[in-house]
Symmetry: none
DNA sequence: TATGAATGAGCATTCATTCAT
DNA sequence: GATGAATGAATGCTCATTCAT
């Protein structure tokens, strides 16, 4: 492609922003700081991105593209719906733990504090839920699980996973507990939760 | 009396702060704004609280006292451990949904961005986990559930509940789903998760 | 005398202020800090002193009273005018070095920055100069020195001493020089400066 | 050119700061006031100077460069050491009287109140003392004066001059005395102080 | 006498953003 | 494409002072 140098600095800005996001959180993110770290002027950032919000939007979009890509890849790799469910959950948690900065802006911002971040962008999260719901539904069809409302159930699984990763990332869980053991136990419980013989009404 | 009028403004400051916390989050919380809303000068806030941090600390402490109080009350009200477990979870979720501002400063701040908030205060959250762990353990003793590591299991339950309430509060779940139905379903799953005959490892 | 408790706290305020003055200088002196150190409320200070300025005025006055007292005592103790001159200079320097806080507010404040400090208070410094001028004049009369304008000469001596003590107090002189040796040398030079056979015009 | 307009405002900031320094002293110097007087925003000052301290540092450095430059120029102009000594003293006093704002930040701040002002900057004052000491030493070598410890003697002369200019600047000397006459008398005494036949120890 | 509560103006500093060049 | 210069509003916090009690 052409414009390689412009892409280079644009990419730098995005990457520096991501790193600063992990370190300082979104609220301590400043254009000045980004420019200093990138080694360009603030004006340059404004040339590539309309505003600070636009810069963060771009990262949010990138994050969702990345997450959806790996979730679909995972979904397509396994035909057994139960195994697929487990794999999807593992993929989600892995994504969150490996990309805390993406995860933060994708899932941990409150909408009322950033009305300016277009809601429609966040709705892409549903794609992930649909993949999970499909695995639940197919499992039910094949009598491997018994799930009445797969879409709602997908939300419950999401809640579980989200709670786990956000407490881990916030380092709020007892440090004496083994992190991987917790994740493994959680994933095991996920399949248990919807066992056919558990449904009781 | 003097005491009541002095308490009045102090209380006002705390309450206004809580409300602003829900609206704007902790990072958009400003002393000026609090004073404007309370109808006093900034200096007055500084008369009652040493600093912005001290003001937030007071709220954090209040929140934990409130949560622990109702959790213990709940725990003491029910002898059947399975019912107690359920009641504890309901109480926790209710607390979070009714007091989003307390919940935010208690459970949704990342430590690296609030080093100045004394860690020891946050450790009080463990009291809640211990109450849950005890219910799990007693249930196991009475063969109502089968939980190998009750403390770890309590963390898993906590993660589930935390994920649920934080996604609900952030309005990130599909609005077409009924909120109360989701909560009920979650609580039902919680007991299912540790059914005796589910343990397979 | 009666009013002992009131005097006690009043005295405390004055003494604490003096100590803070040495540590922080006049500009970092705050009513809050004084009250904290005294262990009373700010209001109490305002009961005893009309304002921060009035408090400092009181100290300035105290300082001048003290200085004038010891200068007069010194003057009255020695009849030989040359010895008296030397003793007066020694006394002045000693006062400055032992009471840096008094010295600061007495001699190191610029009038344009504190118009509110009544000039007439500062004029009391002239009493000191007159004692020195008298010693110079009497020395001249007795042909021990040759001083044409004793009052101007007193000002020169004052300048010398003031320069010495203020540079020493500000720790601006080379630390490798012995402080007492400098003072001794200065005092020696003072008598030399007005030797009869030095006058050449 | 661009360079001239950028320098223009930077220079304005420095000059306004100097003027405010004379009027109000360093402690009453505020960034707001500077910006108001310059006619720019506070942010602009912060664009040109990292902080208030950095701004003052720049002035301190400027002051020392100026003083050292004219002292060296004076030193190089006269070969006769006695005349050189006199000229150096005149130059020093002139500098102080003409640049009271530089003089204040260079010589009248107490170190405990300005720890942040790098000590190494102040040590440049010694250069001035060395020039004076050299003149004293050469005068002694040529038997024009008799000075045992020229470096200490230079400090004494400095003290004398510093006392004179700081009392004059603070307008603490009797206003009826002629200022220039005082300065002249002081300079005359300076040479007298170290006359060969005065040394008696 | 003494205090606790309150105020309003002030402080240094940082921020997202703009724009001529 | 990119920058340096500038802005105005915001931030947390401190200050001397007042006054009812």
């Amino acid at each position: 492609m052409a414009a390689s140098s412009e892409n280079h600095i644009r990419r730098s800005i995005l990457d520096v922003t991501r790193h600063l996001l992990v370190q300082n959180g979104i609220t301590n993110l400043s254009m000045r700081m980004i420019s200093r770290r990138v080694g360009c002027s603030v004006g340059t950032i404004y040339f590539h991105f309309k505003s600070k919000d636009a810069l963060v939007h771009t990262l949010i979009e990138e994050g969702f593209e990345l997450l959806i890509a790996i979730m679909e890849q995972t979904a397509s790799r396994t035909t057994n719906p139960l195994q697929r469910l487990k794999a999807l959950c593992e993929t989600y948690i892995q994504f969150a733990m490996k990309n805390p900065e993406y995860y933060e802006i994708m899932f941990m911002l409150k909408p009322e504090r950033m009305e300016r971040y277009p809601a429609e962008k966040y709705r892409r999260a549903r794609h992930t839920l649909i993949l999970i719901a499909e695995a639940l539904e197919e499992s039910t069809r094949r009598k491997l699980l018994l799930v009445k409302d797969p879409y709602q159930a997908a939300h419950l699984l999401w809640a579980f996973m989200h709670g786990l990763v956000s407490l881990l990332q916030a380092r709020r869980m007892d440090a004496r507990l083994d992190q991987q053991a917790l994740i493994d136990a959680a994933i095991e419980k996920i399949t248990v939760m919807f066992r056919a013989d558990n449904e009781n009404g």
